[in-house]
């Protein structure tokens, strides 16, 4: 229960435990358990059990069918010697390093544009948001048209300014940049979040800065950015977590092969191949847990280095 001005936090929970175990409080607790029972079942059955099972299977030669046995760390050792593992890790990190910052910058630029007081802004907001709700498979197919080396829009535009465009998705060198460009289509939801953040920046500070003679860049860097820093931080962390698991568009565009010449073989795709094409479920489980550790480490790194610099005063 909240009292005015006091959000529900651990403080209230801690308060509860200090109360004696009266019949009323036990009763309340049981009712609470009853109501959350379905969610707990779902969580245990669909999340905790599969995750624990996958940890167990990563130490076995499990293949869904047939016999399997405990092989200890063999899967993990084999992964370290597997060329495709390192290639897929490299491809994924390449993708994350470029697409996450690019996505945040594009979303921020769009949010800044949408924050202006122009007529019909609601329509523009909708238009910019629409691409992110197009189903991933459909948008991947559309983008394969855009990137077609001879007939696609992109190469035709480049030809107009005299550049002979590359093979994009057909070229091992340009396939990853093509995927990175394609990923900017999904910035809609991030744009909305940043827009909400921008609208909370107090106008008085902008006015004060103007009075002090600040131009647009100092205003942006010293007023806007600190106030939306929590949102940017959120974008970075979720972008990292999502980027490492990038899969759908690559699978659609390459038919599950990660081509051309393994240039788009991202980590999740290689995991999928091992699990469902080669029946190496134990191996794939080991890959999944290694990915988990990598993502946790990256997230901790980001938190450790950046959370001190986030300004929560605007919230």
């Amino acid at each position: 229960m909240t009292t005015a001005g006091q959000p529900v936090t651990g403080a209230v929970l801690r308060l509860r435990w200090r109360r004696p175990w009266t019949r009323q409080s036990i009763n309340n607790f049981l009712w609470g358990l009853l109501f959350t029972f379905p969610t707990i079942i779902g969580l245990v059955w669909l999340v905790i059990y599969p995750v624990t099972a996958s940890l167990y299977y990563s130490f076995t030669s499990y293949s869904i069918f047939g016999r399997y046995k405990w092989i200890g760390l063999s899967n993990y050792k084999a992964l370290l010697n597997d060329q495709n593992f390192w290639i897929s890790l490299y491809n994924t990190i390449y993708f994350v390093i470029f697409s996450v910052p690019l996505g945040i910058v594009v979303a921020l630029i769009l949010a800044l544009l949408l924050n202006m007081k122009v007529r019909g802004m609601a329509i523009y907001r909708t238009i910019f948001y629409l691409p992110s709700i197009v189903p991933a498979v459909a948008s991947a197919v559309v983008w394969s048209y855009v990137f077609n080396p001879q007939y696609g829009i992109l190469n035709n535009l480049l030809r107009l300014i005299g550049i002979n465009g590359p093979g994009w998705l057909a070229s091992p060198v340009w396939a990853k940049p093509a995927l990175i460009i394609m990923s900017t289509w999904g910035v809609g939801s991030l744009m909305i979040i940043l827009l909400a953040g921008l609208q909370d920046v107090p106008q008085e500070l902008y006015d004060a800065a103007l009075v002090d003679g600040a131009t647009w860049w100092p205003r942006f860097w010293h007023v806007t950015i600190p106030f939306i820093s929590p949102h940017l931080f959120f974008a970075l962390v979720t972008g990292l977590i999502g980027g490492f698991q990038y899969f759908t568009q690559v699978h659609v565009l390459t038919g599950g092969s990660g081509g051309p010449a393994r240039s788009t073989l991202v980590y999740a795709l290689y995991l999928y191949q091992n699990a469902f094409q080669f029946f190496k479920m134990g191996y794939a489980s080991a890959m999944a847990w290694i990915l988990f550790v990598i993502v946790v480490l990256c997230t901790l790194l980001v938190f450790r280095n950046l959370s001190g610099r986030i300004y929560y005063g605007g919230m």
């Binding site: 069918f65 047939g66 046995k69 077609n148 001879q150 599950g256 081509g259 010449a261």
Partner: protein
């Protein structure tokens, strides 16, 4: 800074707003119909293009004594043909109903495998040539030998290469309803004429293919806009190296040593040919002969001089691009490894099997037998699905011989001697060939390096399979 609302009404109002938005979002999300994934352009030979319709499915008619379930991998037009076939079967077998379920899968088949693992397999399912040995080892398939012998069937009743694939470790595991003769060879007579070549005479050897290509290739601004042939586009890198490896006289498996042999000297020669061909036109990523979203085989775009094709693609091209004049012949071969036209041809195709744990194996076998090796069943299959049957004595072969489109496929059926060898890590081997042939074509490895790596990886994986799952 002034707070905009008081904390108390903030929590209640925004809570209600959030619930409203969340409920709306979930309702909208549920309204999007499930669409099947469109087949990727360089898909396996028989992949039909799928339209954006709700997931196909067909319930068995009520009131039948037994119902069997069939998992169908293609969806789209072929799914409808399977339904027609099921209806005709039901008409002739009033006790049995056939439920047809869409379970997509070419390189993988998650729905089928999940159903088998979960103990609710269908009664009839489809499998591709290179997977049999592995699925048998994993215990996914039911041994059909008792049914086969009881029906009085023999190996001679089937095409030799098809029979080779039906067997593993002395038992029969699947029945071929579709033998793909891979491939006859086709050329665009108009392009030949334009390049100054005789439109009635196709290339006999690979050397002639190179010679003709030099006259046909057109390169504009670095992009190849017309090409003689695209050797690595024979249904994926893996199938391409198989086809041309065999055309050069190579071999991919040594049964005596139980070893895969992609590093066979003729296979490497074939790969070297493909790599040099790509180099001559400026690189595989410069080939720009197809518009985006092309729904027929790339031959239908009219920019490729010669290519192998499966019958379904040939039919499509003839239907949607009728102004292309098509010449036909057998696959080019390359001496000294091979001496006969069409020597590289191989048999592939999809087969029906009964998953382990199926509820109605007897009824499933009756259905499979009807489709695969009875006169009425094969006739129905030919009229609906349009694949050449695996059963040699099917009466439809009289029709096939007489059909001008299908005659080249019949000729290939008679002479094809190769098939992908059944090994327990078949899918893995196919994937390695696919990947490493690509590496060679994109010049990231030499052909010899690529094929040796393929052998090393596959043998390691085979060893691991024996140790960990034997």
């Amino acid at each position: 800074m002034t707070a905009k609302w008081s904390q108390q009404s903030l929590s209640r109002r925004s809570f209600l707003k959030a619930m409203g938005l969340g409920a709306t979002a979930m309702a909208l999300g549920a309204c999007v119909p499930a669409t099947p994934v469109p087949a990727a352009p360089a898909a396996a030979p028989e992949a039909a293009e799928v339209e954006a319709t709700p997931t196909p499915g067909r319930e068995a008619p009520t009131g039948r004594k037994t119902t069997i379930e069939l998992f169908e991998i293609w969806g789209g037009g072929l799914f409808d043909q399977w339904v027609k076939l099921a209806e005709i079967y039901e008409r002739d077998h009033p006790d049995v109903g056939v439920k047809v379920t869409f379970a997509p899968g070419h390189g993988d088949n998650p729905k089928l495998l999940t159903a088998v693992a979960g103990g609710v397999p269908p009664d009839v399912a489809m499998i591709v040539d290179f997977s049999t040995a592995q699925w048998v080892e994993l215990g996914v398939m039911l041994d059909l030998t008792p049914y086969f012998d009881a029906a009085g069937l023999k190996g001679d009743d089937f095409w030799p290469a098809a029979w080779y694939l039906m067997n593993y470790k002395g038992k029969v595991w699947q029945m071929p309803f579709d033998v793909d003769p891979n491939f006859p060879f086709f050329w665009n007579k108009g392009i030949f004429r334009d390049a100054g070549l005789d439109p009635e005479k196709g290339p006999a050897t690979i050397d002639e293919v190179n010679e003709f290509s030099r006259k046909i290739n057109k390169i504009e601004d670095g992009k190849v806009t017309r090409i003689g042939m695209v050797p690595w586009w024979t249904y994926g890198f893996g199938n391409s190296i198989y086809t041309w490896g065999w055309a050069f006289g190579g071999s991919f498996y040594d049964a005596a040593k139980e070893e895969v042999t992609p590093d066979d000297e003729y296979v490497i020669k074939a790969l070297e040919w493909m790599v040099n061909y790509a180099k001559e036109v400026g690189g595989p990523d410069q080939v720009a002969v197809t518009p985006p979203g092309l729904q027929v085989h790339f031959f239908g775009a009219g920019n490729v001089g010669m290519t192998p094709m499966v019958s379904a693609n040939l039919r499509d091209v003839m239907k949607y691009n009728p102004d292309i004049e098509i010449g036909q012949g057998l696959l080019p071969y390359q001496p000294p490894g091979e001496q006969d036209p069409g020597a590289g041809a191989w048999i592939s195709g999809w087969r029906l099997f009964i998953p382990a744990g199926a509820k109605n194996p007897d009824a499933a076998w009756d259905f499979i037998r009807w489709v695969v090796c009875t006169p009425e069943g094969t006739e129905t299959e030919w009229n609906t699905l349009g694949f050449p049957p695996g059963w040699k004595d099917a009466p439809v072969f009289e029709k096939i011989k007489a059909d001008p489109i299908m005659k080249p496929y019949y000729d290939v059926l008679l002479t094809a001697k190769h098939a992908k060898d059944p090994i327990p890590v078949g899918a893995f081997y196919q994937a390695q060939l696919e990947e490493l042939t690509g590496e060679a074509i994109y010049e990231r490895m030499t052909p010899a390096e690529a094929m040796q790596e393929a052998k090393k990886r596959t043998m390691n994986e085979w060893q691991r399979f024996k140790e960990q799952q034997g």
